[in-house]
Amino acid sequence: MGVQAELSERLNLGALYEMWMVFRRNKAALTGLILFTAIVLMAVFAPYLAPYNPYESVGAPFQPPSDKHPLGTNDVGQDLLSELIYGARISLFIGFVAAVVGTFIGTFIGLSAGYFGGLVDEALMRFTDMWLSMPTLLFTIFLAAVITRIGTFPMLYGIILAIALTAWPSVARMVRSAVLSLKESLYVEAARAIGVPSRRILVKHILPNVAPIIIIEVITRMAIAMLTEASLSFLGLGDPTAKSWGMMIHYAMIRNAITLGMWWWFLPPGIMISLSVLAFMLMGLGLEEYFNPRLRYKEQ
């Protein structure tokens, strides 16, 4: 045990340190981390990086790339590069919130099913199976179509909700199986032998040990959520006021970018989506390999 590790232990940085070690060992995961950091920085410092305000018309519409507008302008003369940079914010936001909400629902259901077992487990797992048996994107499309049509809240939230609602089943499955194996673990049995109440066992013994799985889930779910959002936007179910990367592609499509050969409009957002999904997938893969390579079975 190195001094460094000793120190981190004392600072209670165990988990963080462990993760860092994983990333340092795994080249792919490190690439993912770097990419991720870059994209997050881009989102955070968008106002400083973007040459223009993406919500303002700053030039003639449909301009090809030029010195003034490195990626040209869109249908109302907004700068595409600025849109691309600001797009990181919306896309990451959608991905993050959807992933967190989805994982939260999944964790809750998985924990309950796994811990209480019996009839609760059976019922919840039937329910989960039902959702799992639906083609995910198809069902997300359906939910998004339904949700954005029943409330007067901004469409963006409807889409996030739709993505979250289809993201949870696999999380629930995974958490449940983790809980089931943890429940049989000796230290939980020891706690029961001591007479620790079940709620406390759940919170103190099971939850902290499911946490890594949840973290990985959030990361991979984010990737999937971003992809799903892009697909929904492409199909015309997105929020037309949210400048996400998916919406940029959608606009490019409805304003005939292919006909006009304006590849600078629909290629960059696709590449950005790919890069950020890649970042999350690499990070997820790295962490997963470390924590438990056999737990996962579903992805997209």
């Binding site: 020891a190 706690a191 001591i194």
Partner: protein
Amino acid sequence: MPGNGFVVRAENLKVWYPVRRSFVELITRKPPLYVRAVDGITFEVKPGEVFCLAGESGCGKTTTGRALLKLIRGAVIGGSVYVKPSREVFEEVSRHAPEAVVDKDSRVIDVYRVPEKYMRPLRREFQIVFQDPFGSLNPRMRVVEILEEPLLTHNIGSTKEERLEIIYRALEAVKLIPPQEFATRYPHQLSGGQRQRVAIARALVMNPRFIVADEPVSMLDVSIRAEVLEVLDELKQKYGLAQLFITHDLALARHICDRIAIMYLGKIVEEASADELVFNPLHPYTKALMAAIPDPDPEARLKYREVPIKGEIPTAIRLPPGCRFRPRCVAYDNAAKEIKRLCETEDPGLVEVKPGHRVACWLYK
């Protein structure tokens, strides 16, 4: 209520695990099948005594240990487990679950009649140490947290300082010195022996009357077994702690235990004091086990080799009629016709052949 001088007494204890039936079998009403992990055993552990359960793996000894503490889930449990807790615990339990009280005067409680939610006070005095020291400690908790948990659960010690005091004393008792240093460590920073001692300390902080030690050293390297065993022995000497020591190692059992019971396929086949059992085994199975003990004396080894065993331990789902050891029994092959007939039809009960030495074999009836 036969006898009164016990801490824990199992009477005709049965643990049957149901085998999952398929849908068709459910419809056609096929009778349910069970794995009879423990199939009607009776024994008692006296105060201050170390009682050993020994046998091959899969014979049900671990299940017995857990069944005593009501830690088995998803199985059909029959028979009774009587315990004698301390006065205050007895009063607390009898207040909430009067139906569980068997004998008020001698404070005997039937564990299986206590509803789960009132088990907690009992758990305080009846504890367990698991076989696997690597799995039995939560890797995300420090030693101090692990040891504090039972205290918090049972409201022992009102302040943090008080609890720390108790924890340090328990750590010292299991020879983890200095306790202050060990207390801040995570399990993965401890060796196997140290972990097992933490596990013992966890049982110890509650000041129990009885612990089940479920093969506490079998997963440890031989070199560090001694220190754990030493701690356990000290507990018996110093605190008069009654123990149910589960092991597959007869040599170890003889060394540690006051009395030994040999289990085979969910039943006790022989029970006697340690020396009696080792030097005068009666049951063919015990003899076979003895043969497996490596002995430094080659002559002795040769002598025991004369009693071999055949086949392997069968599954506990479909048991043969009569004596369940019969298919593997060498003595059966050589036995007289009428005994053979008995072996084939009837199960031999545990019969006291000498004072304190009981055996379940038709040869001795």
